[in-house]
Amino acid sequence: MGSSKVVSLSEAVASVADGANITFGGFAAYFTPLAFVREMIRRGKRGIEMTSVAECWVADYLAGAGVLKRARFSNFMFEGLGRCQNFVRAVERGEIEVEDYSHFAITSRLVAAGFGLPFMPVKSMAGTDLMGRRGFEAEKARPLACPFTGEPVLLVPAVRPDVAVIHLARSDRDGNSQLFGYTAVVEEQARAAQRVIVTTEEVVEDTVIRAQPELTVLPGFLVDAVVEVPFGAHPTGMYRYYDPDFEFMRDYYAASRDPAAFRAHLEEWVLGPGDHWAYLRKVGLRRLLALRSDPGLGIARMHARTVT
């Protein structure tokens, strides 16, 4: 075992440069590294570029705090709530540049980087404005006839983000990291990025990892730093740990409709509490415990009326 990769949240965030191209883990309202994002906002990061699939909470927080400069992505939407208000407002004002892809195509760009290939062929996006209309990329996609069969394919170039920031369930000090449930894009994101920061619900002994190796999504050699942040995805949920805090999300969404109200929300929930522990104290023990997963079901009992 090498030396411990465990660092503090503030150290990890300080290691990310302004202007960095970051790919964040998570999916929709789940396992999103929001403790990290809140710390980025506290530290006044600027000019961040996202290489993204559907990490709507990251995009909207960073857009609302003025941290996000551009995004290549496929979909930002708060399902059940609506469009990401901070993000779309900034795009409509011309403050954030965008480049649109389909889920499969942007993921394929990450796969190409992780596989050590200059591009990947895909069979979607062809014939549409996703292929033909550019945002900020010099070149987005190129049609090609397969050299073997002549079949038309579309090539999308590899994208190698500076950093991947991924929130997972548990990690050991070497960075071997596990996740329960679906994995969205985290394996592709980690292999594409030049540096990988894992924030984790809990740091465990490596014997815990080795007892269930099938849960490992990132072997430690891919991971550069590990940060222990319990409830680090709040208000998004973490399968087998806690459910999304839908009440918090509704309050956030209401505030995000108006820039001044959102500044107040950021002041109250991000800038006011000086660190992650102060944030959790503010959310409160009663609320956090109510979100906790039932050990048998993997989700919170309050959201499990008819599942069993």
Binding site: F76, G80, E92, S102, M125, A126, G127, Y182, D243, H303
Partner: protein, 265 residues
């Protein structure tokens, strides 16, 4: 259960219920269906509870073979994970589309044109839009690669437009042969289900045509609320009303709060 606010169609059945039932009937038993949030999810649950118990539901988050018992808030909802047959990643789930394993997908959009092309990206200039929409997500992949695509939208002139302002998801692009030239797979869109009618596409011109109107809706009303000249099928019939059993399943089991099927306004 309050029914006094249910409106819009015969026998107190809502038009959303007619849409959900029409969509459910598109899923055949044992098919693999790629499902999003909203009415398509309601339709998929209904199909599984009725004629298609062995349909396999795939969600882009990486959830395969879900057997959900209550409506999820989104395609990543942990309640879809409980009891599914495979939990994997997005790349795997979308590779199923490209690999040709997915029979049917469902999509909504802000704009649909007469060739069944969809816009879910932007209204106005792409780089400086009037309205920035959520973006493709898996929509383009589904429209490019699923064997059949079913489109579900409210029937409005501003939504059924001659030409989409941004072509996010391919229908038949600019007409016959265009999908083949672009290398796309699948038959393309086969149905458009709205709150007024069910439409399909003329086999020769690939242009949208009226197939059936919902009970209580006239052909003229549908044409007036369509932003392009609508073809008519040789015989325009009436969309079948949901059965009492289907309505009961929708209201009591699948969407008891009326989130997507309406009626609880």
């Amino acid at each position: 259960m309050s029914t006094n606010k249910r409106k819009g169609a015969a026998n107190g059945v809502t038009r959303q219920e007619i849409m959900a039932v029409a969509a459910a009937r598109e899923i055949r038993n044992s098919e693999v269906a790629f499902i999003g949030t909203g009415l398509p999810m309601v339709a998929a649950y209904l199909a599984k509870a009725t004629h298609a118990p062995d349909a396999v539901l795939v969600f882009e988050s990486g959830i395969v073979g879900a057997k959900p018992k209550e409506l999820a808030t989104g395609v990543g909802d942990l309640r879809l994970l409980v009891g599914c047959v495979k939990s994997t990643g997005l790349y795997y789930a979308l590779s199923l589309l490209q690999g040709g394993f997915v029979d049917i997908g469902f999509l909504g959009a802000a704009e649909v044109d007469q060739y069944g092309n969809l816009n879910s990206t932007a209204i106005g200039d792409y780089r400086r839009p009037t309205v920035r929409l959520p973006g493709s997500g898996g929509a383009n992949d589904i429209g490019s690669l699923a064997r059949r695509l079913v489109i579900m939208v409210p029937h409005e002139r501003r939504r059924l437009v001659p030409r989409v302002q941004y072509l996010t998801t391919p229908g038949f692009l600019d007409g016959p042969g265009a999908r083949e030239r672009a290398g796309l797979r699948g038959e393309g869109p086969t149905r458009v289900i709205t709150d007024l009618a069910v439409l399909d596409f003329d086999p020769a011109s690939k242009r949208m045509r009226l197939a059936t109107v919902h009970p209580g809706v006239t052909v003229e009303e549908v044409e007036a609320r369509t932003g392009f000249p609508l073809l008519r099928a040789p015989r325009v019939g009436e969309t079948p009303l949901p059965s009492a059993g289907e309505v009961r399943l929708l209201r009591e089991r699948i969407d008891p709060e009326g989130i997507y099927i309406g009626g609880k306004g």
